[in-house]
Each structure stands twice: as structure tokens, then as C-alpha cells.
């Protein structure tokens, strides 16, 4: 747990960070966001004392950061920055093992840990002997994350880690990081200026302006109830649409379906389930909806597959673009989990909207 107590930083009489009182929960990603110069990076760097606070205190697990020796404090906290900062003269192996080396781990333990980390970030071990310049931007940033995780710190500080990466790779890095966090449950403080990124990965979002914390809350809450005009503007005109990205389709999954073989289609007389998925050996050919069948139409439709983590917005866009009304949720490990209907999604959203306006 990280606690800020009346935390301030002055640069030449001007407050860069003003009187913050906050608590960051363990195992959560807390995102700090705001326009440039709002003090978000300064706030982050005070945690590992790259910048010394002028007033107030920071406590990590109830121990003040001033009770730590500065160097050992930094060694116990993972740190990832936008420029990545991989050391170009070190191999990937040496880059990842920097903190364990500094902590004087023995060789065998470092070896084991480095290999473990390469598996964790999903890069081949053959990369270990390469130099950073032989890797792509996205790969380098994964190595940057691995390096920060090397000594298995409880806390991870990330300063716009995906900021310099092209949009496509950024999205996959965000997905990668969200997945990683599910397994690792680190306490992450993450600075960004990208509101979409904040909403996507944050368990909590702190919106800052002129060194002050305007609103610190869960993304849903911030989107539903922005505290003032500034927050509203930061979230943008698409605020309501953004909310759609937070709702998971899995909450609206329907399970009254049946998988049948192709040759069984003609034998169906009474529909007990509302949806039949037609299997043809290892592929899925299409599906039949009960209500279509009753109207007597030739009604095998193409299946739109989505994965189990999909959100409302992406699902609705996908269905609209394919001209379909039903999406089937297919999970890599567990196969077909059910289906969702676009109308349910829209209705649920409308209901939420209605509740908010009352």
C-alpha cells in the first residue's frame, strides 16, 4: 500500500504537486493522467525519490520512504520509462539481470529468473544474447517491463511506458500488460496522457491538473460522474461511448445453445434451445436461431466469433459491420461459452444511462 500524506513538491516557489492525500491499493493499477505540466510525472518520481518531496510524506506499507536508504528503495521498486532506457551496450540477458546483479543474487538464481521472465513476457529465449538495437520497439518495451520485474518487486512505477510506440503495437502492449497484471497483481502506478489507455488498464484513475488531484476513482465512476468541467473535457465528447468499453459482454452471455453436427440439422423438429451452432468436423459452419427457424426461412447464418474479454463497444461495432445481431463467445481454452445479442447490450446500456439521469 502506498500512501501520500500532504505531499507537495515546489520548484522555485511554484508548486508542481500540491498537497496530495491518497492511498494506492495493493494489487491495483492506478493511472495518473492530466495535461503536460500537471505534475503526474513529478508525483511518480517522488515515490522512488528520483525527486525529493518538499513537504509531506510517502509511506510504503506504513514505512516512510525517508526511512529507506535511497538506493535500496529504488532497487526494491520496478521502474519503466517511455524512452525504455535499455542499455545499448548490454545484451538482453544483462539488461534484465541488472537489479538482481546489483542485489548480488547468485548466478544460478539470476539465470533461472531471467528465463522465467522471458517466458512471462512471451519472447523466445534466443533473444537473450541479442543487443537492444536488434529488437523492435514493442519487444524492447516488453524487455523494459521484464527488467523492472526482475527482482519481483511489489511496486511498479511506469512513466508513459507505451507512449513512444505506434498505435497498433501500443494496443497489443496494453493487452499484454493487462494480462500480465492479472497473474502478477503488482501495485502499479502508471502515468499516461492517453485517456483511452487509462480507461483500458486502470483499476483506478487519478486526474490531475496544476499539481492537484481533481478526481481519483474507478474508471466507471469517473465516466459516469465526472467531478467538474475539466474532467469532462479531458474525457472528451465520447465519454459515454468510452463507458461501453468498460462493460464486458461476459456479463450478458446466454447459454441456451446447443452444438449439433451438420447432418443433424434436418432432423430438428422441436427447438428447445434458442440457438443451434452447426459443427462440421472441426469447423463451425454457422448457426440457426429458433425464431428464424419458426418463420420457416432458410436460416443458417454466419457466425461472428468474439473472445471472452471483449467489451460492449468492440462487439457492437463488429456486429454492425457484419450486419449480424448475435456474437458467439469462443474461448481458446474452453471452446464455445455462449452467445450475446446486440439488443441486450444496447438495452443494458440504455438502462444504465436512464439510471444515471435520474
Amino acid at each position: 500500500m502506498i500512501e501520500f500524506i500532504n505531499l507537495s513538491k515546489k520548484f522555485k516557489e511554484k508548486y508542481a504537486v500540491k498537497n496530495l492525500n491518497l492511498t494506492f491499493n495493493d494489487g491495483e493499477i492506478s493511472v495518473l493522467i492530466g495535461p503536460s505540466g500537471c505534475g503526474k510525472t513529478t508525483t511518480l518520481k517522488m515515490i522512488n525519490r528520483l525527486i525529493e518531496p518538499t513537504e509531506g510524506n510517502i509511506k510504503i506499507n506504513n514505512k516512510s520512504i525517508f526511512d529507506f536508504d535511497e538506493i535500496s528503495l529504488r532497487r526494491s521498486i520496478g521502474y519503466v520509462i517511455q524512452e525504455i532506457g535499455l542499455f545499448p551496450h548490454y545484451t538482453i540477458y544483462k539488461n534484465i539481470s541488472i537489479v538482481p546483479e546489483l542485489l548480488k543474487w547468485e548466478k544460478g538464481k539470476i539465470d533461472k529468473r531471467v528465463n522465467e521472465l522471458m517466458d512471462l513476457i512471451n519472447l523466445p529465449r534466443t533473444y537473450l544474447n541479442r543487443c537492444p538495437k536488434e529488437l523492435s520497439g514493442g519487444e524492447k518495451q516488453r524487455i523494459g517491463v521484464a527488467r523492472a520485474l526482475a527482482s519481483d518487486p511489489e511496486i511498479l512505477l511506469m512513466d508513459e511506458p507505451f507512449g513512444a510506440i505506434d498505435p497498433i503495437n501500443r494496443k497489443s502492449l496494453q493487452d499484454f500488460f493487462v494480462e500480465l497484471q492479472k497473474a502478477l497483481k503488482k501495485t502499479v502506478i502508471f502515468v499516461t496522457h492517453d485517456i483511452l489507455e487509462a480507461i483500458k488498464i486502470g483499476d483506478r484513475i487519478g486526474i490531475m491538473k496544476d499539481g492537484e488531484m481533481i478526481q481519483f476513482d474507478k474508471p466507471q465512476e469517473i465516466l459516469k460522474r465526472p467531478k467538474n468541467k475539466f474532467v469532462e473535457e479531458l474525457l472528451g465528447v465520447n465519454r459515454n461511448i468510452l463507458r461501453l468499453t468498460l462493460n464486458k459482454v461476459l456479463d450478458f452471455v446466454k447459454k441456451d445453445f446447443k452444438i449439433i453436427n451438420k447432418d443433424e440439422v434436418k432432423e430438428i423438429k422441436n427447438f428447445n434451445d434458442s440457438l443451434y451452432i452447426i459443427k462440421n468436423e472441426n469447423n463451425y459452419d454457422g448457426f440457426i436461431l429458433k425464431k428464424d427457424f419458426e418463420k420457416g426461412r432458410d436460416c443458417i447464418r454466419e457466425i461472428v466469433f468474439i473472445n471472452e474479454n471483449e467489451n460492449f463497444l468492440d462487439t457492437i461495432i463488429l456486429l454492425l459491420s457484419k450486419g449480424e445481431k448475435v456474437a458467439v463467445i469462443k474461448c481458446i481454452e474452453r471452446g464455445i461459452m455462449g452467445y450475446v445479442e446486440i439488443n441486450d447490450l444496447i438495452r443494458a446500456f440504455e438502462k444504465e444511462e436512464y439510471e444515471l439521469s435520474n
Partner: protein, 213 residues
């Protein structure tokens, strides 16, 4: 050519003398230059003032510098000989070495230093593990520059009694002996080229694989 072969012994002796003066001054200048370079890299203003001062010293013509040194050092009975020559060479070679050290350090990506600091390296570790290996190419280029420069200026230091290969050139001119002049020019040029390339190969082998072009 005959002259060259007939005087091989004394040529070698003077080459040794020449290299001796230049190497001693270069070693001192390297130590000074690298320390100054590291120190000034922490503050831009101080760096600019220091480098300007060293540049001014650098622009003093070598002959006048010897003159100045003679007048300063003669009260201590050190006005002529190897000592003022070494001092002069240090002053000349200091600029390329200091400037290159400084440039090497400040041109290292800020993110790299910040990461190193954020991961808990102390200042000494940052210098040793990060800044030094990354500065090698530029640093070595500075030393190479300094050495070649030193060999050139070193030939003039013959005039203040420091010996060296300058002997052949100045004595040759005095005696209108073309063979002597030729010998001096050839040996000095050969020495420069040789030193330059040897240092270049050392530089290449010291440069870490990841930063090689």
C-alpha cells in the same frame, strides 16, 4: 634514403624521445581531460565556460606558447628542456580529450541514465557501468586526435631543447640538408599514421557490440 639507413640508430633514439614526451603528456592530459569532462558534464554553464577557456589556450600558436612557458618557468630553472614541452603538449591535447569526453557523456540518451538511476545504481556505478562503456567511441576518438596533434606539436618542441624528431626538420633547414628534412617529415608522418591506426583498432575492440555502428 641512404641518410635514413645510415642514421637509423639516432633516428630510433629520437623517435623514442619524441614518443616519450608525447606519451607522458598524453597520459596526464587524458587523466585531466576525462576528470574535467566528467565534472563539467553535470552543469551546462560551467561546461561552456571551461571549454571556452581550454579553447583559448588551444588557439595560442605553439611557438608563442613555448615563449610564454619559457618566461614563466625560467625563474624555476625549468624554462627549457622536456618539462616545458610536456606542459605545452598537455595544454594542446587537453581540448580534444576534454571536449570529446564531455560530448560523449552529454550525448548519452537521458532515458538510459534515468533508468539506471531509477533502478538503484549509485553515481559510481552509473559512471562505471553505463557512461564509461557508452562513451568509449567518442572518448577514444578524442585521445586519437590528441595523440596525432601531440606528435605534430612535439616536433616543434625541439626548439626549446626537448629533443625529438623535430631535430631533423629544423637542423635540416638550418643546414639546407634536404635529406635530413625528408627524414624528419617521413618519420613524423609515419608515426602519426601508425599511432592513429593502432588507436583506431584499440577503439574498435573496446567498443561494446551493441553500440558499434
Amino acid at each position: 634514403m641512404d641518410y635514413l639507413l645510415n642514421n637509423l640508430n639516432s633516428i630510433l633514439k629520437r623517435t623514442y624521445e619524441h614518443l616519450y614526451i608525447v606519451s607522458i603528456s598524453l597520459i596526464i592530459s587524458m587523466i585531466l581531460g576525462i576528470i574535467i569532462g566528467i565534472l563539467i558534464s553535470r552543469d551546462k554553464k560551467i561546461a561552456s565556460i571551461t571549454l571556452k577557456m581550454i579553447s583559448i589556450l588551444f588557439t595560442i600558436p605553439s611557438l608563442s606558447l613555448f615563449g610564454i612557458l619559457i618566461s614563466i618557468l625560467s625563474p624555476f630553472k625549468l624554462g627549457i628542456g622536456k618539462f616545458p614541452a610536456i606542459i605545452a603538449l598537455i595544454i594542446y591535447t587537453l581540448l580534444p580529450i576534454t571536449r570529446n569526453t564531455y560530448t560523449a557523456i552529454i550525448s548519452i540518451d537521458k532515458g538510459i541514465i534515468e533508468s539506471a538511476k531509477g533502478m538503484g545504481m549509485n553515481w559510481g556505478e552509473i559512471i562505471r557501468k553505463i557512461i564509461f562503456p557508452l562513451s568509449i567511441p567518442l572518448l577514444m576518438a578524442g585521445i586519437r586526435n590528441g595523440f596525432v596533434l601531440g606528435i605534430g606539436v612535439g616536433s616543434i618542441s625541439f626548439l626549446i631543447g626537448a629533443g625529438g624528431l623535430g631535430y631533423y626538420i629544423f637542423e635540416g633547414i638550418e643546414r639546407s640538408n634536404n635529406n635530413m628534412i625528408f627524414t624528419g617529415v617521413i618519420t613524423i608522418s609515419f608515426l602519426s599514421v601508425f599511432i592513429n591506426y593502432s588507436l583506431y583498432f584499440i577503439e574498435r575492440s573496446l567498443t561494446p557490440k551493441g553500440v558499434r555502428k
